[in-house]
Point group: C2
Chain length 222, copies 2
Amino acid sequence: MTEIPGKAAGDTRSRILDAAERLFMEHGFDGTSMRMITSQAGVNLAAVNYHFGTKELLIQEVFRRRLTDLNRSRLAALEVLELEAAGASIKPSRIVDAFFGTALRMAADVEGGGHTFMRLLGRTYTEPNEFVRQFLAEEYAECVERFLAALYRALPEVDRKEILWRFHFMMGAMSYAIAGTDALQLVTGKFDDENPSQLAPRLMSFLLGGLRAPLAGFGGLK
Amino acid sequence: MTEIPGKAAGDTRSRILDAAERLFMEHGFDGTSMRMITSQAGVNLAAVNYHFGTKELLIQEVFRRRLTDLNRSRLAALEVLELEAAGASIKPSRIVDAFFGTALRMAADVEGGGHTFMRLLGRTYTEPNEFVRQFLAEEYAECVERFLAALYRALPEVDRKEILWRFHFMMGAMSYAIAGTDALQLVTGKFDDENPSQLAPRLMSFLLGGLRAPLAGFGGLK
DNA sequence: AATTCATTAAAACGTTTGTTTAAATCATAC
DNA sequence: GTATGATTTAAACAAACGTTTTAATGAATT
C-alpha cells in the first residue's frame, strides 16, 4: 500500500489518461492512435488495453474522470443558490454563473489539466462519433435538466422553448470560446496572449446579454 | 461538349463531392474513408485520387465549392449596406445580419445541400486537423477582416479588442447552433422538429443581445 | 475504320490501425 | 526463499487505410 515516488501504484493509468486527454484535444479521437498515446505516456503499447479494455472505454474514462466532478460542482453551486433563496426566485444571472462560470473556472486551471480537458470537451460537443455523443448526453442529462428547471422557475413569464434555445446558444458560445481559440486567431492575429483569465468575465457578460435579449418575433417575423 | 443526361461530364466529381460532404459532416474527416465516399457516390475507389489527387485536396474542394460563394454573398451584402449608408454609420445589427444572417440563410437550404455544408463547417471550426484549420483561416481572412473593420467603424466608442471577442462569441453560438443540434437534443428531448426555419430569428436576437451587452469590468473585475 | 485521349475498372501496394498472445518481470504474502 | 497474482514487455495478428498501377472502356477526332 506504500506509495513509491516516481512510479506509484496506478501511475500507469494516470499517465495514460493524461497523455490521452492532451492528444485527443490536439488531434481528435480518430487522429490519435494507441501508439501515440502509449509513447507519449512512456508506457507499453499493450498497457491501454490491459488497463482500460478498448480505445472507446479509454475515451469514456478520460471524460468521466473530470466530468463527474464538474457536474457535481455545478449542482452544488445550484443548491447553494436554492438554499439562499429559500423558495424565493433566483436571479437568472446567478444560475448562469453556477453552470457556465463553474466550467470557466475549471478551464482557467491550466496546470491541473482542467484547461486541456475543457478544450477537449468543447470540441466534443460537435463530435461526429455517435458513441461519444451518446455517452456525453447520458453524463449530462441530470445536470442539464436541473439547471433548465431552475431557469424555468427564474423566468416564469418566458416560454420554456425559448429558454431551451438560449441555453443551447450559450452552450455554443462557451464551447467555442474555450475550444476554438485556434480557429480565428490565425485570421485575427492571435489574441489569446492573456487567455484564459480574461475570457470568463467577457463571456459571462455576453451570455447574459444574449439571455436577456428581446425575444424574436416582434418585427413581423414569427 | 454535349451534356448527356444521367451521366453528364463532371458528374462523377459532383457525386463524390456531395457524398464526401455528407459523410464528413456525419463522421468527420478521419472517420470517413475513401471507400465510404466512393461506395456512397457509386463510383470506383480510384475515382477520388484521379479527380482530386489526394484525400486532403478533396477536403479542400468540398469547402471551396461552397465557401467561396458564401463569403462572396457576405461581402456583397456588406457593400450594399456601405453604399446605402453613403459614409454615414451603419447599424451594427445590419452588419451582424450581413455576416451571420447570410450563413443562416444558406443553412436553411436543406435540399440544395447548404444545410449539410453549414453543419460540416460549424464542426470544422473546432477541427483538430492542422491542415484544415490553416485552409479555413486563409479562406476566411479577407471576409472576417472586412466585417471587423465595419464593426469597428459602427462602434467607434467600443474598444476594438472587445468587439473582436464578441465576434468570436457570436461565431461560436452560430456554429454550435447549426452543427451541434444532435448534442443536446438527446438531453432535452429533441427540439429540432421545426428546424432550421425557426433558428435564424432566434439566433439573431440572441447574437444582438450579446453584442449589445454591457462590457465586463464594472463590478470591480478588470 | 483507325486513332487518340479522358475516364473507369479491378487488383494490388506498403502502412498503419486496434487488439491479442505468450513470455518476462515485479512486488507481496506465505 | 518460494509461490502467487498483478503488471509489463516484445512480438504478432488480421483488418482497414490511402494510394498506385495496369488494363479496359468510352466517346470524339482524323
